[in-house]
Every structure is written in structure tokens, then in C-alpha cells.
């Protein structure tokens, strides 16, 4: 079990360390009857950072998001924003912007009216509203679409309207709930760049929810990895990718090369044989754990005189690199990345796998 407090304490900062805390979830939890959607968590979000809530469906990330924006009342705990307790504040008074999964644009209002809506709710002067809406639409490049209805726009355009509607009233925190998941890959990448740019320009605090680890790695200042209603790991993308705190974190972040076993001396006894542990690791004899090696840190060698060996089952060409799948004797499948231009491997051929033990990582189960 990871104590939430520990995570905050241990996660090293990225350079914004020591920045003021924008939002603090203190022991926040949510249960529906007997089923627990979110165990009590402790989470501090810094002002101006882009934090991703990453996790599989049912991990509690959307619940946490709804608790933050006030659409769901917590079972326990407090929510502090800018040092003030906002646990009881209703959604419309929280000064938080949300970009919903399917954008939640009002179909009966035009683009312009959609974007003006939050300003009207805040009873701004009509002329001011017009200027602000124009600016927001300019920022997302949709000025000429202001008289259209949402259904007359493409998915990417709708997404940008939703973004503009959220940015226009300059909320100090923006929450994005799987906002890019409905877009195709190319558009998603464009929007990721857009969001990073807007984040830089507006200096707003953004909480981004996603189940896509690549997206999380690409966007975030920090990632909050969630699993089964708990925070699994909190840290920068590099920290999470390079030093996953658990086998779940490792697997979820996309590292499939993992072998379980028990420790004997400085080795791990696995079904594939006895493998060396990284020199820096401190493990006691007999304890169970797993060894992970990232694909790009493995090299393919001739069979024999290697840590592991197996058969090439698939070779996937992806332009700059080739991913080779290798079935080990125990049935586990390892992925190895090879730079482009190297010799092609025969399917079914026997190969060996080697790596620098210090580049591998040991995780206690």
C-alpha cells in the first residue's frame, strides 16, 4: 500500500517545486452505498501546472474530477482551493472550468452563444462579452464559425469550441475529462499541441483526465496514476516512465517486458532462469518481486551467451524503428525496439536478449 502522504513527499519536483498550492484534496473520498469509488486521497495541485489523472476505467479518476468541480459531493474529506475550503461550494460558484468528454456543447445555442454562456451567467456587460468571446474564438481559430450550431461543426471544431467556452471566463483551474478521446489520432496530436500552447499562454492550472498513457506522457507536467480508487503514483512523466513505483504502474505506462520471481542474493529466480538484479537495488532474500526492462534498453544478440532467449514471432515496421516481438520459453512475450536500417529478422528464428543490469529495474510485489 502506498500512503498518499508519502507520495507527495517523495515525488520530486520538476523545477516548479515550492510553487504555491492551487488545490488541495484533503482525505477526499466518495462511496456509493457500499461500493467505494474513491478511497481517501491526499493530492496537492500546484498553481499553473498541467497535471494528468491517468488510469484505467473505474480507477476513480472521473470521480475525483467530479469532486473537484463540485458535481458530486464527497463522502469525506475537504477540498481547499487557494487556501479556502470549498467543499460546500456549488459547482456554479467554484470558478472551475470543465471540458467534458463529448464536449457537452448546448445544441440549441450557436457557437457564439455557447461561448458567451458562462460570461452571461457572471452578468458581464454585453460589450465586454462580445470582445471576450471574439478573443476566445480567435484563440482557437473559429471566429468565422460563430453563427453555426454545434452539430454543424466537425469533431475537432466542437472540441475547440468547448475549449474556448472554458477559457473565455478565465477560470483559475481547468478540468478536462477525456477531452481528446473522441478525436482521431492526427487531430488528437494537433489538439495536444494546442492545449500545451494555451496552457503556456494562460498560465492556468489544468487537470487533464485520460486513460491514454501516451497522451499523459506527452502533455503533463506531472502525472497522477490512479488504480482502483487510489493514487498509485504521482510524479513527472520521466519519473513514472523510468522509475515506476509498482508493477501496475510499469505495465500501465506501457512496459510489457516484465518477469516475476523471487530474490536470491543479487539475482531474481524466474521461470526464464536466473537474472541479475540492478546493482543499486536493495532486496532481501526470498522476497517476491519483478524485473522490468524497457524495450529500447534491450539489444538482440545471437542465441546463447545472453540473459534470455526466444523466438521471433512478429516484426512490426513503424518507420523510424521496428518493434520485434519475441516469445520466451515460458510463454511471456517481450518487445524489443530496433533502429531502422538494421537487418530484418526471420520470423521463427531463435534470438537472444541482453541488457545492462543497471538499466533494468527491480520492483517489489
Amino acid at each position: 500500500m502506498h500512503m498518499p502522504g508519502n507520495i507527495v513527499a517523495t515525488s520530486s519536483a520538476t523545477g516548479k517545486s515550492g510553487a504555491e498550492i492551487k488545490l488541495h484534496a484533503q482525505g477526499l473520498s466518495k462511496s456509493y452505498g457500499t461500493s467505494v469509488a474513491l478511497h481517501p486521497i491526499e493530492l496537492k495541485i500546484r498553481s499553473g501546472e498541467l497535471l494528468t489523472l491517468l488510469g484505467p476505467s473505474g480507477s476513480g479518476k472521473t470521480t475525483l474530477l467530479q469532486l473537484i468541480c463540485g458535481l458530486v459531493e464527497p463522502t469525506n474529506g475537504r477540498l481547499v482551493i487557494d487556501g479556502k475550503d470549498h467543499t460546500e461550494t456549488t459547482a456554479n460558484k467554484r470558478d472551475i472550468g470543465v471540458v467534458f468528454q463529448n464536449y457537452a456543447l448546448f445544441p440549441h445555442l450557436t457557437v457564439q452563444e455557447n461561448v458567451a454562456f458562462p460570461l452571461q451567467m457572471r452578468k458581464l456587460d454585453a460589450a465586454l462579452i462580445r470582445t471576450k468571446v471574439q478573443n476566445a474564438l480567435a484563440m482557437v481559430g473559429l471566429v468565422e464559425f460563430e453563427k453555426r450550431f454545434p452539430l454543424e461543426l466537425s469533431g475537432g471544431q466542437q472540441q475547440r469550441v468547448a475549449l474556448a467556452r472554458c477559457l473565455v471566463y478565465e477560470p483559475s483551474i481547468i478540468l478536462m475529462d477525456e477531452s481528446l478521446s473522441a478525436l482521431d489520432r492526427k487531430l488528437r496530436e494537433t489538439m495536444q499541441i494546442e492545449i500545451k500552447r494555451i496552457h503556456r499562454e494562460t498560465k492556468s492550472t489544468i487537470v487533464f483526465v485520460t486513460h491514454d498513457q501516451e497522451e499523459a506522457l506527452a502533455l503533463s507536467d506531472r502525472i497522477c496514476l490512479m488504480n482502483a480508487g487510489r493514487i498509485e503514483q504521482l510524479g513527472t512523466p520521466e519519473e513514472i516512465y523510468e522509475r515506476p513505483a509498482s508493477t501496475f504502474a510499469a505495465e500501465f505506462i506501457g512496459i510489457t517486458n516484465l518477469l516475476r520471481g523471487h530474490v536470491e542474493g543479487m539475482t531474481l529466480v524466474t521461470a526464464e532462469g536466473v537474472l541479475p538484479l540492478p546493482p543499486s537495488c536493495r532486496a532481501s532474500n526470498g522476497e517476491r518481486g519483478a524485473l522490468i526492462i524497457r524495450p529500447e534498453q534491450m539489444s538482440l544478440v545471437a542465441a546463447g551467451n545472453c540473459f534470455l532467449s526466444g523466438c521471433v514471432t512478429e516484426s512490426i515496421y513503424a518507420g523510424s524503428e521496428t518493434r520485434v516481438l519475441i516469445a520466451l520459453r515460458s510463454g511471456a512475450v517481450f518487445t524489443v525496439r530496433r533502429q531502422a536500417g538494421q537487418q530484418l529478422l526471420q520470423l521463427g528464428s531463435e534470438v537472444g536478449l541482453n541488457w545492462e543490469p543497471r538499466q533494468s529495474q527491480y520492483l517489489k510485489s
Binding site: 463540485g70 458535481l71 456549488t90 456554479n92 460558484k93 470543465v98 467534458f100 454562456f117
Partner: protein, 585 residues
């Protein structure tokens, strides 16, 4: 029935464009012959002078010139208007509440709400006569509570409005509900995060989004209310006379076809005008579920937005004051309590009927005097009741089968066709819904009189088929639209011939829609009175006609016994429909 919102006939994926379109022809021919042309013929009589046979408009001069007729027109529109507004106001919270319920509870609650809809208005009104009478159970309760006026509940405008709302409320709710069910609940959430208070989110976002359902409900209720005659005739006072009653008087009592058909023309014109206004405001295609894009600059739209903004702001302030003063009063519980009460009132006259049928006394009373099955025995022993019941069954089954065949051909053709004629055919199939049954009945009466087909079962079957056509057609169109035709194509590529495709793939998948269509058609016929009165000619008596005769000619508890039998049949049919409804995902 529960699903009025279906996609309008629009272009569809079909490789053989229009190849199935000829299937719509039988329906068009049928409706032209037994609906459109007879109606036009009947309307034309109003321009033929009774005495001379020349063209003339004296009927209209009389209609709008005389105080009595203009007063009845005024009364009719006023009552229809009041019923519509009240139905919408009372039905909206109920529909809203239903849309918030889990699917299963929604279906159960809907069953209770729809039960009075499928129970003959005759039964309901007669129940009110007994329950609200001077010595009825309501008067008794009121006097025990010390409330005055319990002895004078019947025969007034209020009673007519109450009974009509009672009849129309289920229709209102089932028309609004599908639209509410499709409103994305995240939109109000989104509005809240954008700074809207709960009242603002409701008025500015939720209400405009279900306006389409509200407007369609209003349209249907208003048009149906225009054609009412049973309720004002049975529970109305001397001033509650509506156009349909005048039509019956003119044609049945005074043989004045000219004036009678002129009144019918006014009724049709009013219905068409309503539809025209609806079309201008909401667009007809929305009735069938199409989205209106509309112009962003439309004056009406801007007006609506401004209005909802004002109202939203107002209620938002009210909410704030309310929240400050009586904080914590559970609005949800209040709504649940309201809905439970409304459903209880909807069911009250039906449930009250059952003990009345088991009375030992010679007259209908509530609570009944002694319990026994004497009147069920009388019902079973009476050749009149038994033959009426059997005839209603036979006519219902044949009419439902005929409607089903015609409507499924047409719906199949329209679902797969993008022909220009499709729009016309769609309107034609829906048209009997907006022409009051009384007009259809007298039009057919006139036609069949010429063909010497009055007082035949076949004439009633045809009349019922016309009346049941729109709803059955809508159900089947929704079924065929919802059917994934690619599955048929897949079956073909897997080696099935056309017959096998229909038998093994299409039919099993659309079966529930077909059965619901059949049962709905049967129920329409089974509870229909107007056509049966006119076309039965007093010889071919259906169950509702026998009940009507009993109410007007002889009042005894056999009527209640028969009503219980009808209720039982309706419930069985209803359960069939419910079991066949595709599970909501």
C-alpha cells in the same frame, strides 16, 4: 407508443434506390379511398345548399353569425387550450421525474400511467359520474374532512377540464418522455460548471432542449381535445358543449349534413392551423424526430433564448432567497410525492371500478353494497354483451392485421426509400391522427351509406384501420429505421436468398416492433367508439358501443363488469407490449 420520436423519412443507405417504394402504394390507395377522399367529399357538402342543391355558404354564415354556434366554437377552443396548457404544466414534472428514474422503474411507472390511456374514456367518465356524485365517495370523504362543496363536483367546466386532463395526461407524458430521455444529462452539469445556478441550467439549457417534445405533446393534446365529445356530454354542465357534440346533433338528430359538415370543416381547419403554427415555430420534421437547425438569427429563437434567460434569472434569485430562508427542503422528495399523487389519481377511477363491478345491489355505487359476481354472470349470460365482446375481438384482430400489413409495407418502403414521394406518403399516413375521429366517422358514414355498407363489420374494420394507421405506422417506421439493414446485406453475402434473409434475419429482428404494432392496432380498435357508433348502424355493436348504449339507455352494474373485462384484456395486451419493447441500453 412509448416512442413517438422517430427519424423522419430521409435519405438512407440503399443500393437499389426506390426499388421497394411500390410497397407504399396499397397504403396510399387505402388512405385515399377511405380517408382523404371521403373527408373531402364530406367537407364539400357544407357548400351545398340543403334546399336547392346549389353552391352556397349559408352554413358558414349561420355558423359564424349565430350566437349559439360562435359560443360553442369559443367554448371548444377555450377548453382545448386550457386542457393543453394544464396537461403540459402538470405532465412536465411527471415526465421529468420519469426521465430521471432508472430504466426499470421508468417502465413500471409508465405502465401505470399508460393504463388509463388505453382504458376507454367511456369507462373513465362513467367512473367519475359515480365517484364524484352527490353521494359519491369523494363527497363522503370531503364532508368527513369538513370541506364544503363535495356534493356539487359534477357537471361543471372544472369537471370537464379535470376529466379531459385525466384522459390526456398520459399522452402528454409519453410524448415528452422520449425527448427528455435523449437529453444529455451532462449538458446541465456543464452549465453548472460554467456558472449557471440549478434554475438557470434548467430554464436555459434543459427546457429548450426538450421543447420539441413539449411542443409535440401540446400539438397532439390540443388537436385531440378539439374533437372530444364523450367527456363534455357525460360530466359537463349546460354550457360545456363542444363542436363534436354539435356535429352529432346536427347529423344524427337534425339530419342537417350541411351544417354538420361545416362544423367538421371548422374542426379540421382549426387542427390544420395548429399544425401550421407548429410547423412555423418548430418545423414539422421535428415531430418525427429530425433536428431543426433553424436560422441562428430567427426572431422566435432569439425571443425564446431571451425569455428563458429572464425566467432562469428570476428563478435563480428565487432559489437564492429560498435557499437562504428555508434551506434544505428536499425538492426531489417534493417532486416524487407530486408524481406519486398524480399517478394515484390517474389510476383511481380504474381501480375504483373493480369493486363496483362486484356489487350485489341493482345500481352502481361506491363503495358497493355487498360483494358478489352477480353482474359478471349477467354479463356472461347476456347475448348482447357476449356478441359485442366477440365482435370487438374479431374486428380488433382483423383491423389490427389489416393495419399491420398496410403499415408495415409502407414503413418498410419509406424506411428504405429516399423518393420525393416519401414526404407526401409520410404526411398522408400521419394525417388521420390530426383529423378528429368524429370527422373520419361521419365521412365514412357518408361514403358507406352510398355503398350500402352501413352496419357491416367490414365498414367498422375499415374505419378502425384508418384511425389506427398513424400510430401503428409510426411504430413500424421506427422499427424499420432502427433495423440495421447491413445485417441483411451480410446475410446475403453469407449465402441467404431474399426469402431466407427476411425469414431468418429481418423478421426475428423486427419482430418485437411488429407485435407491438399489432397489439397497438388492436387496442385502438378495441376501445374505439365514434366510428362504431356511426358505422355500426345500431346493428353491429362493438363493446364500446354497447357500453355507450348502456350508459345512455340503461345504467346497471353489468357495465362495470364489462369494464373490468375490458380492463383485463387491456392489461394483458399491455403486458405483451411491455414484454416486447426492446430493452433500453
Amino acid at each position: 407508443m412509448a416512442d413517438l420520436a422517430i427519424a423522419a423519412p430521409a435519405s438512407n443507405h440503399t443500393s437499389r434506390r426506390g426499388s421497394a417504394f411500390w410497397l407504399v402504394v396499397p397504403g396510399i390507395v387505402f388512405l385515399l379511398a377511405f380517408f382523404l377522399l371521403p373527408t373531402l367529399q364530406m367537407m364539400s357538402i357544407s357548400f351545398v345548399e340543403r334546399a336547392t342543391g346549389d353552391f352556397g355558404v349559408s352554413a358558414y354564415v349561420k355558423l359564424f353569425g349565430s350566437k349559439v354556434y360562435s359560443r360553442v366554437l369559443g367554448t371548444t377552443f377555450m377548453i382545448a387550450f386550457q386542457v393543453t396548457v394544464l396537461c403540459l404544466l402538470l405532465g412536465y414534472p411527471l415526465a421529468y421525474w420519469l426521465s430521471q428514474q432508472p430504466a426499470r422503474r421508468q417502465r413500471i411507472a409508465l405502465m401505470f400511467i399508460l393504463l388509463p390511456f388505453w382504458t376507454s374514456p367511456l369507462v373513465l367518465n362513467f367512473s367519475w359520474l359515480v365517484l364524484l356524485g352527490r353521494n359519491g365517495v369523494v363527497a363522503l370523504v370531503m364532508s368527513n374532512l369538513g370541506l364544503p362543496g363535495g356534493d356539487d363536483l359534477l357537471f361543471s367546466r372544472t369537471t370537464v377540464l379535470f376529466a379531459m386532463i385525466h384522459t390526456m395526461l398520459p399522452l402528454t407524458v409519453v410524448t415528452m418522455l422520449p425527448v427528455m430521455n435523449t437529453v444529455d444529462k451532462r449538458l446541465t452539469m456543464a452549465a453548472m460548471t460554467l456558472g449557471a445556478s440549478a434554475p438557470q441550467a434548467f430554464w436555459q439549457i434543459y427546457l429548450p432542449l426538450c421543447m420539441r417534445g413539449v411542443a409535440t405533446a401540446g400539438l397532439l393534446v390540443f388537436i385531440s381535445a378539439l374533437g372530444f365529445f364523450i367527456t363534455p356530454a357525460l360530466v359537463g354542465g349546460r354550457q360545456e358543449t363542444m363542436i363534436s357534440q354539435l356535429i352529432i346533433t346536427q347529423i344524427q338528430q337534425l339530419q342537417n349534413w350541411q351544417l354538420g359538415s361545416a362544423l367538421a370543416v371548422v374542426l379540421i381547419a382549426a387542427a390544420l392551423l395548429t399544425i401550421f403554427l407548429y410547423d412555423r415555430i418548430f418545423g414539422l420534421s421535428t415531430m418525427s424526430g429530425g433536428q431543426t437547425a433553424g436560422s441562428a438569427e430567427g426572431k422566435l429563437r432569439l425571443f425564446g433564448i431571451a425569455l428563458t434567460k429572464r425566467v432562469g434569472g428570476f428563478f435563480s434569485r428565487v432559489g437564492e432567497v429560498y435557499g437562504r430562508t428555508i434551506r434544505g427542503l428536499p425538492a426531489r422528495k417534493l417532486l416524487s410525492a407530486y408524481c406519486t399523487l398524480v399517478i394515484a389519481i390517474l389510476l383511481f377511477p380504474i381501480i375504483a371500478f373493480i369493486p363496483m363491478a362486484f356489487t350485489e345491489g341493482s345500481f352502481l355505487s361506491f363503495p358497493p353494497k355487498g360483494l358478489g359476481i352477480r353482474w359478471f354472470e349477467a354479463y356472461a349470460a347476456s347475448p348482447l354483451w357476449v356478441s359485442a365482446t366477440l365482435r370487438s375481438f374479431a374486428i380488433g384482430i382483423v383491423a389490427a392485421a389489416l393495419t399491420l400489413v398496410i403499415a408495415s409495407f409502407a414503413a418498410f418502403a419509406l424506411a428504405k426509400s429516399s423518393s420525393r414521394l416519401a414526404g407526401f406518403a409520410f404526411l398522408l399516413f400521419m394525417a388521420p391522427m390530426v383529423v378528429p375521429p368524429i370527422v373520419i366517422a361521419i365521412s365514412l358514414f357518408y361514403l358507406f351509406a352510398q355503398l350500402q355498407l352501413i352496419a357491416t363489420d367490414i365498414s367498422i374494420v375499415i374505419g378502425h384501420t384508418v384511425i389506427a394507421m398513424p400510430i401503428v405506422f409510426v411504430i413500424l417506421l421506427a422499427t424499420f429505421k432502427g433495423h440495421d439493414w447491413r445485417l441483411d446485406q451480410v446475410a446475403s453475402t453469407l449465402g441467404a436468398n431474399r426469402f431466407q434473409v427476411v425469414r431468418r434475419v429481418t423478421l426475428p429482428l423486427v419482430r418485437s416492433g411488429v407485435v407491438v404494432g399489432f397489439v397497438t392496432g388492436f387496442l385502438q380498435s378495441f376501445q374505439e367508439l365514434t366510428v362504431a357508433i356511426f358505422l355500426g348502424g345500431g346493428l353491429k355493436t362493438t363493446l364500446p358501443k354497447q357500453m355507450w348504449d348502456d350508459i345512455t339507455l340503461q345504467v346497471n352494474p353489468t357495465l362495470a363488469a364489462a369494464a373490468v373485462v375490458v380492463l383485463l384484456i387491456v392489461i394483458i395486451m399491455f403486458v405483451i407490449i411491455e414484454c416486447m419493447q426492446p430493452r433500453r441500453t
